[in-house]
């Protein structure tokens, strides 16, 4: 589990990794769907490097629209993967707002520094395997999860 902190709604927001035989799963939790998406993105960064070691020097804006929440999560993660690959960036902080089927997000980060970040692996894409978005059984907490192909 990583980056446990209290959120605007005083419910915990955090992320974790889960096992997939070939690759790795990321799962974010939060008091809203948007927070869960932010945490899932932090979990994705943590696949590559510890998020707390990434300085927030540059900002990238992301806009996605999808017919359902699962596809929206895949689109959000894949948009970030594209930005990381295209501009050689790592992100350490995310902010997301979701209205209906539209996501507006921002990611803050910096160019990859191989000596400092020691990046482990590049991410090829977010898959649709184990792709789920919903509320946990208690109804209070949201989760958002995906398996990444690395």
């Amino acid at each position: 589990m990583g980056s446990l902190h209290m959120t605007r709604a005083d419910a915990p927001a955090y992320w974790e990794h889960f096992s997939h035989q070939a690759d790795i799963g990321v799962r974010g939790f939060g008091s809203t769907m948007a927070e869960a998406f932010e945490q899932a993105a932090l979990a994705m960064t943590a696949v590559i490097t510890p998020p707390e070691g990434v300085r927030c020097l540059r900002r990238v804006s992301i806009h996605c629209q999808a017919p359902d929440a699962e596809l929206l999560l895949a689109d959000w993660l894949n948009a970030l993967i594209y930005e990381m690959a295209d501009h050689n960036l790592l992100f350490g902080r995310y902010a997301v707002s979701i209205t209906d089927e539209i996501l507006t997000g921002e990611a803050w980060g910096e160019p990859v520094d191989r000596a400092r970040h020691r990046p482990v692996v590049e991410i090829k894409g977010a898959t649709f395997t184990e792709l789920k978005v919903g509320r946990r059984a208690d109804g209070r907490e949201w989760f958002a999860q995906a398996v990444l192909d690395v």
């Binding site: 096992s19 035989q21 596809l71 689109d75 692996v121 894409g125």
Partner: protein
């Protein structure tokens, strides 16, 4: 995997008869021990594949199969376009045309041993590997499209290799009928600095020693000599292939209902071969294949330059180049009639038997060299295709050891430094930009590659030619 419900039909062949939505049987290859170690998801994914429209014969899983995305990794399935057959982006994978190329060094391994550490350092300096590495080549507009149409043939034309290399690459170095216009601007942008890069994860460049020859005649035809060194490159189509996979997978999910396709798993997203989307994906995927072939060709050139710093006259001819994430049109006999089928191989190697017309003349009598990538601490293998493999699994064989432990588990269990030190004590030099990456790729995270190869041979899919052991490994 629970073997209940599987019918054993041969020493390493297991069949699940059609039930529920399955249109054809599911066939798994492997020993009982290998199958018992497979995740139940392999069975679930394979039976789902067996229910896709237009599937022909059976859905097959190779002995190294593991849980993948829609298709199991190690999955093989053929579809008939005349019977509503489909093409699946998940059945090819994100790393389109990922594969293995092997080169002769012609050097006794003892000569490598004498310069092992400086050679490893120079290879690590020259081969861009890992996150954040970029190649020296910049492709834009027209040159990008030429690469996507021309593959390794384009790379040789640019001076990165020799004409005779092309004969030793599947499709003679160029996948025909690629459609660069179907590759998005984003995919092309993602690739513009990545030509001639190795990538990360399980990709590698290795110097290996031919530790044992099992079939002397075939080994001689392949040019493999016990005690000599071989260079192997494992990588694929880099960011371009990943982006093509991402974009078409989504389009196939969204458009599936328009084609009347009901998906048991979104990751099985597919489109009829004869649809606009199917044709667009096939054209883009072929461009991705050419990108991978060009990439391995450029890496070959870089490795040759490094070897020439140590041995100025060395040639490093190509033994063969195979791709194990593809879908290609192939002619196979169905009900005694030749039919053109679209054969998906996701983590499976084509293994054409002796006499096949698509083989270069040098391999007509031996069958195709089948290059099996191992782990940095165990072994890789060279096998040869068998004539009987066509009826067993559409001339397909395994592609590697196959993971048995997740990255998540592996990084908890091993430290990268300890893995590097342990391998160094065994004479294997590892160079990698990431210690955690080494831990996640620890040899113990994979199945026993020797057991996988043994099962492949016992099943009649391919036969053993030579076992190769690592000496130097450059990990991404």
């Amino acid at each position: 995997m629970d073997l209940a419900g599987l019918k054993q039909e041969g020493p390493c062949r297991w069949v699940i008869e059609p039930r529920g939505d399955m249109r054809v049987p599911a066939v798994l290859f492997g020993s009982a021990a290998l199958l018992e170690d497979m995740d139940d998801k392999v069975r679930e994914q394979l039976t789902n594949v067996a229910g896709l429209p237009g599937i022909v014969g059976a859905a097959y899983a190779m002995p190294d199969a593991h849980w993948g995305y829609g298709f199991p990794i190690g999955g093989v399935a053929a579809f008939d376009p005349d019977r509503g057959g489909v093409i699946s982006a998940g059945g090819v994978g994100f790393d389109i045309s990922c594969g293995v190329r092997a080169l002769h060094t012609g050097l006794e391994a003892s000569l490598i041993d004498a310069v092992k550490s400086p050679l490893a350092d120079r290879l690590f300096d020259r081969i861009p590997a890992g996150v954040g590495s970029t190649g020296q080549i910049r492709l834009t507009g027209k040159s990008m499209d030429q690469m996507l149409s021309g593959g390794a043939r384009w790379a040789v034309g640019q001076g990165w290799g020799r004409e005779e290399d092309l004969e030793r690459i599947e499709e003679h170095g160029r996948m025909p009928e690629a459609l660069p216009r179907e590759v998005s601007d984003q995919a092309k942008k993602r690739q513009r600095n990545e030509m001639g890069t190795l990538g990360s994860g399980n990709h590698y460049l290795e110097v290996q020693r031919v530790a044992r020859v099992f079939d002397g005649e075939t080994a001689a035809a392949f040019g493999l000599v016990e005690g000599q060194a071989v260079l192997s490159i494992h990588c694929g189509s880099r960011g371009l292939g990943h982006q093509i996979g991402t974009e078409f997978l989504r389009r196939m999910v969204v458009e599936a209902p328009d084609h009347g396709i009901r998906l048991p798993d979104r990751e099985l997203a597919c489109a009829p071969i004869r649809s606009d989307l199917g044709r667009a994906y096939i054209g883009a995927m072929r461009a991705g294949i050419n990108c991978a072939l060009a990439n391995r060709q450029i890496l070959t050139h870089l490795a040759r330059e490094v070897f020439r710093e140590f041995w100025p006259d060395i040639e490093l001819p190509v033994i063969y180049d195979v791709s194990h994430n593809t879908c290609k049109p192939e002619t196979h006999r169905v009900d005694d009639q030749p039919r053109e089928l679209y054969v998906h191989r996701k983590g499976a190697t084509r293994a054409l038997g002796p006499g096949h017309p698509d083989l270069p003349a040098a391999f007509r009598e031996t069958g195709q060299p089948v290059l099996i990538g191992g782990t940095m601490g165990t072994a890789s293998w060279v096998l040869a295709g068998l004539a009987g493999g066509e009826s067993l699994a559409l001339s397909s064989a395994c592609h590697g050891a196959g993971r048995q432990m997740s990255r998540h588990q592996a990084k908890k269990r091993w430290s990268g430094r300890a893995v590097v030190d342990e391998l160094a004590a065994r004479g294997i030099q590892i160079r990698s930009p990431s210690q955690r990456g080494v831990a996640e790729e620890a040899p113990g995270a994979y199945k026993d590659v020797d057991a996988v190869v043994e099962a492949t041979e016992k099943a009649g899919l391919a036969r053993k030619v030579a076992r190769l052991e690592p000496v130097i490994c450059i990990k991404g």
